[in-house]
Amino acid sequence: MSNIIDSIRNENLRSDLPEFSIGDTICCKMRISEAGKTRVQNYEGVLIARQGTANEASLTVRKISNGVAVERVIPVESPNLTGIDVVRHGRIRRAKLYYLRNLTGRKARIREKFKTKQS
């Protein structure tokens, strides 16, 4: 890809997000506007995939909402994403957790990863 395109893709990339990885339960603070007003809506779920690079990066966040599975693709660089909280670190062995789609209930859980103590 050309250097010029790359420089446009990489300009003003955000650095305000905490460190998180696939399998984490994250809470995305999405700014939404409805009826002329804007407010922040929290969307909490398991991060099952990351796609793209630079300003085209996006996260796929899956949650079960009232018994219905919801997957939302959230562009990382979107100004509508005002912040991310990491609720829980997950212990996983794959980069994409698409297998969770075929699992329900107790099978669809992800083990929690606890940080090792730094000496």
Partner: protein
Amino acid sequence: MNGLIGKKIGMTQIFDEEGRHIPVTVLEAGPCVVTQIKAADGNDRYDAVQLGFGKRKPKNTTMPMQGHFRKAGVNPVQALHEFRTDGTELNLGDTVDVSLFEGVDKVDVTGTSKGKGFQGRIKRWNQHRGPDGHGSRQVRASGSIGMATRPGRVLKGTHMSGQYGNKTHTKKNLTIVRVDSERNLLLVKGSVPGSKNGIVYIRTSR
């Protein structure tokens, strides 16, 4: 004067303030040099300037063209194009850059579309296929191309197979997303004809 010569660099996407993705084409627009001036009160009978863009080695420039550039006092350029003016203040050898488009809302971009060779009616004219089954032997073939005794010939301009692409095309009313005078870049919303590194002519929309 309302136009520039440029080069297509490629496409990417950026966000607007409301968080919407905007597909943009990045164009290297200018700087262009004035290589010829045509005046309504001269031999040419109309007002225009000829702009040049890019670089060309003198050894790859024909002798007549070298003379043309020498007359203007500029180095040989890759591409030339004429833009109409209304009695311009430009002089030979002047430079025009992308700041021309500052404050401009929409532009038309002309380029040479990607060549697709000899194509059938389905790809070239978006026509429908024939039936696949029931013994059909007319899947991608042409159907009827006209009437019988009257007029007794195929009407001119009937959509048929042939060369598709590699043809000058203009995409009109593209919104300017950003003008970067420092790097001579112009970001327009949507696609423009042609491949990367293709020469395009950009002018403000009417």
